[in-house]
Symmetry: D2
Subunit: 94 residues, 4 copies
């Protein structure tokens, strides 16, 4: 099911930049726990990291839809659509 | 609204261990993007990180409820409950 | 684990009003499907119903926390907190 | 952006059946509130209705992707993809 070039290739740098920021947010949460910061403030930070991960996921999904599902050959589309729906389902449950 | 000792203090080590694992998952996602891995596989990893963050959030929320909201003085409970509901609302939206 | 009077008793009318509106939203979705309306418009309606259900859930949770978990006797609090966390977890997964 | 026949047309009856069941679930929640049932049991029912709505949404989304986004003409695909991503984003936030 793999494609030669992933759909997000043109956004690779932007994605990495966002992911590094999310890594920083998670490190920030660790620091807050170490410093025994207030529970609710930590939860706010976690929600921010979750929202940022959601955005990365939506970006990947959009690139995947455009370049792999739609742009791909007719042969695989059914399988590709099914696979994409599975990914959306997992995101909804998270 | 801060308390001297946060509700999660007895789980501090376990929480930090989980958060370091989540940091590792986010780094794993970065690596996958760098290596131009398949979109859907990356989305699966992001869902795993989201689920792990949800678990940390639920843990923090439980400790907060037990030790701060319930265990705290009567005086602040209304405000504490409201604050906690705000945190749950933010988690639901993520 | 049941209490004599549920925590939401003072908001019972307001809750019923909201729930009837949500019932109407679901009926609206049925009508849209019958009328063969556009998929995306139906999805927008479903998201609206979901958001309205989230609000009812948060309201119930808040009333439960205030009146049953906090207001209840010391004896049951551990069990009540655990039960409440289970409910929050189920909401997060929905 | 509307299409002549919606993507879900072949699943129309199955969708309506599911939606009627969800309507019944919401009515069940109303009844529980009227009968002053236990908060946590009501929350469990709400989570069940949410999960059922998620499934309907995923079904609609899949049919839409297969028949409208992929099956549609090349001209509209960019707009259709964008529109679909908007719908997924709204579902994730609910």
């Amino acid at each position: 099911m793999a494609t030669q070039t992933p759909g997000y290739i043109q956004n690779q740098d932007a994605l990495l930049k966002r992911l590094r920021r999310i890594e920083g947010q998670v490190k920030g949460v660790e620091r807050m726990v170490t410093e025994e910061r207030y529970c609710i403030d930590i939860l706010t930070q976690i929600s921010a990291a979750q929202a940022a991960l959601d955005k990365v996921a939506l970006r990947l999904l959009e690139d995947h839809t455009r370049h792999c599902v739609i742009g791909g050959g007719d042969a695989d589309r059914d399988e590709l659509t099914e696979e994409m729906m599975g990914a959306i389902e997992r995101l909804l449950r998270s």
